[in-house]
């Protein structure tokens, strides 16, 4: 599925967070290693979330969730609304308490510590700036609570405001600022306390698209400069992919996948992740031959294609999903010997790409996204134009078929 050469050993980095062993999860331990190698220098775990369970009105919002957050990383909790990501964040901040499980910062148990005594600070979704205080007083609030000397407060607040480029706005009230400026005050207010972890609850959701992009870059810069661990909550997969070191995909209080943005996008652990992160074509495949050491032959739309052997066990005759991102689809001329025949039913000009929907003869819809060719600026399709659809072998990703009920399986290889 990737255009880039893929080393097979990377594939197992899509991790299982659900450990069954009560003592020590040897399998999970070894599976974690490749990720650390990939992430560069070894990082220590800062925040341990173990076995967290929470019910609201009989509905499980978090289901024995385990997660280790590393020191200095930018980790994103991604999922649809109601997946438990906000509850998880509020638990770290101390506004919610788990029914079961523990939260620990290093060796210090925080599970029952009230929010005011936790060395974690939050940037709230709608900023929650105190409307009756000036920008300066908002940022100074946390330091005043620490009873810092006046001079130190002044200096640190000014530094924090300079960091978010709001030095000249310290006398203003929040309502006199634009959305983006309020956002920055909220960030300055939280980081001025030099927290161990900064929790960000959908902080960009109230901003318009352009400002969001700017703030995304700015947040990344801040995180690099401060070296603070960022835990970021969003339902926007694009945002998650572009900002994070690691992404946690959540659904129904369970971790679906934990990995780098690239792993999550290119090697989704299950159908949910594949559907939620980006657009995907699911082609039905059937295993024809699985004798070879590391390749199998799969029948897709009557084509016999040779694929790399997946991580899950395959047997001849088994059905599986062949996943292809729209940008991995090749649209060929109808006369080409390769590919499956179909016709263009929709075309969307997107500026840098031409997105089209192609109906195959068996009724399957295929999304294709092609870059414009510099040699052919007028490149386009007619509606109803007959074409053939293909892809380069090795760019696909295979997943086993799942029952439609939510799967307990979290990782590709669990």
């Amino acid at each position: 599925m990737s255009r880039f050469v893929q080393r097979p050993d990377e594939a197992c980095a899509g991790l299982s967070e659900k450990t069954d062993s009560p003592l020590f999860d040897w399998v999970g331990f070894w599976k974690n290693r490749p990720l650390f190698l990939w992430a560069g220098p070894m990082k220590q775990t800062l925040l341990f979330l173990s076995n967290l369970t929470k019910e609201f009105d009989g509905k499980k919002v978090l289901d024995s969730l385990n997660l280790e957050i590393l020191d200095g990383e930018f980790i994103t909790l991604l999922g649809p609304s109601g997946c438990g990501k906000t509850t998880l964040l509020r638990m770290m901040a101390g506004f919610e308490h788990p029914d079961e499980g523990t939260i620990a910062l290093g060796s210090r148990d925080l599970t029952h510590t009230p929010p005011e005594h936790r060395p974690l600070n939050t940037v709230f979704q709608h900023y929650a700036l105190f409307p009756h205080m000036s920008v300066f007083d908002n940022v100074a609030y946390g330091l005043k609570m620490e009873k810092r000397p006046k001079e130190e407060i002044r200096q640190r607040v000014e530094e924090a405001l300079a960091m978010v480029q709001l030095e000249d706005f310290s006398r203003r009230k929040p309502h006199q600022l634009s959305g983006g400026q309020q956002q920055r005050v909220a960030i300055a207010r939280a980081v001025v306390k030099r927290p161990k972890v900064l929790l960000l609850d959908e902080p960009l959701s109230a901003l318009d698209y352009k400002l969001r992009r700017t703030m995304q870059v700015e947040l990344k810069r801040l995180q690099r400069e401060l070296g603070i661990t960022f835990v970021f909550v969003t339902h926007d997969q694009e945002e998650a992919l572009s900002m994070s070191d690691r992404v946690v995909v959540l659904k129904d209080g369970l971790i679906q996948q934990l990995g780098t943005p690239r792993e999550v996008y290119e090697r989704p652990a299950n159908l949910f992740t594949a559907r939620f992160v980006g657009e995907t074509n699911f082609f039905p495949g059937r295993v024809e031959q699985a004798h070879e050491e590391d390749t199998i032959i799969v029948d897709v739309f009557g084509l016999k294609r040779t694929f790399r052997k997946p991580d899950f066990p395959v047997t001849v005759g088994q059905s599986l999903h062949v996943l292809l991102r729209p940008e991995d689809i090749r649209v060929l001329a109808p006369g080409d010997d390769e590919g499956v025949a179909g016709k263009v039913v929709e075309r969307n000009y997107k500026g840098s790409t031409l997105d089209s929907v192609i109906h195959l003869e068996d009724g399957t819809e295929v999304l294709a996204s092609e870059f414009f060719d510099e040699d052919d600026p007028t490149f386009d399709y007619r509606l109803g134009e007959p074409v053939k659809v293909s892809w380069v072998d090795g760019w696909e990703w295979l997943l086993p078929t799942e029952p439609e009920t939510p799967s307990e399986e979290a990782g590709t290889d669990a």
Binding site: A93, G94, F95, P114, P115, E116, H117, N121, T122, F124, Q125, H126, A128, L129, F130, P131, H132, Y141, G142, M145, E146, K173, H175, R189, A190, K193
Partner: protein
């Protein structure tokens, strides 16, 4: 046509609303004794007013009653509003309903019920009975004002304060109270005015030991014309205007 017709209509009604007030103010400076004809400029009615010791005493009594009734009802009302906003408890709807009924019931119904209570339990009618009665009819107005403010209150603000290291008490002092301050002020002012203006309830629950201004005015205006009332009315008008402006100014300042 469609633009000036509504405007003319609005102007006309506003004129009608303000004519009696203008008449009152102008005639308070009238030197004539009969009260219907213009007899030249004079401050004699103001003079008469301030030389009337019973009247001045009634003014102070009223002022003190209004101050205390407004303060007590703001305190209880604010706490009630917080409880209604915050807690789930049995009988919450009943409490809400009772406050609403108190607000809507004709004053006279409240008045006789309180009179019956005070007389049956042998309560001396005077300052305390007035205070209890006034707080009772001011209470729903304060509750509703504070509730309205709380319903627009960002639930994340207290959390943000806690997150930044404030404990409950500090959070209440530095965030909650300042944010609902305009509502407390508005509720207090409403209570103050309601109390100062009340005739109906006070008629029933006041005793000879504590004469208040509206009742004094009432006994004066029931028969004939008393030019001092013009002067008194003008003073009251100026007083409430000053209070209104002051509150607007404070509200605007708190927004800035």
């Amino acid at each position: 046509m469609s633009r000036w017709l509504p405007r003319t209509y609005l102007t006309l009604i506003y004129l009608l609303l303000y004519v009696p007030i203008v008449v009152l103010v102008v005639f308070s400076f009238n030197d004539s004794r009969t009260g219907y004809e213009w007899g030249g400029l004079s401050l004699r009615w103001y003079d008469a007013l301030f030389n009337n010791r019973a009247m001045v005493q009634a003014m102070w009594n009223s002022l003190w009653l209004a101050l205390s009734a407004a303060t007590v009802s703001t305190l209880i009302g604010a706490l009630t509003a917080l409880a209604l906003h915050r807690y789930r408890f049995r009988g919450k709807n009943v409490l809400n309903g009772m406050l609403f009924v108190v607000m809507m019931s004709p004053e006279i119904v409240l008045a006789i019920s309180l009179l019956a209570l005070f007389l049956l339990v042998g309560f001396q009618l005077g300052y305390v009975s007035l205070l209890l009665a006034h707080v009772t009819f001011c209470l729903p107005f304060v509750v509703i004002t504070v509730m309205a403010r709380l319903s627009g209150f960002d639930e994340r603000l207290p959390e943000a304060a806690r997150d930044l290291g404030a404990n409950d008490f500090t959070m209440t002092r530095t965030v909650l109270i300042p944010v609902i301050m305009p509502a407390l002020l508005a509720g207090w002012l409403l209570g103050f005015t309601l109390s100062l203006d009340d005739v109906v309830v006070s008629t029933f629950v006041s005793g000879p030991s504590y004469e208040i201004l509206p009742l004094r005015i009432y006994s004066m205006v029931r028969v004939g014309l008393k030019p001092e009332v013009n002067a008194l009315g003008t003073l009251l008008l100026v007083f409430s205007l000053v209070m209104l402006m002051l509150s607007q100014w404070i509200l605007l300042r708190s927004k800035r």
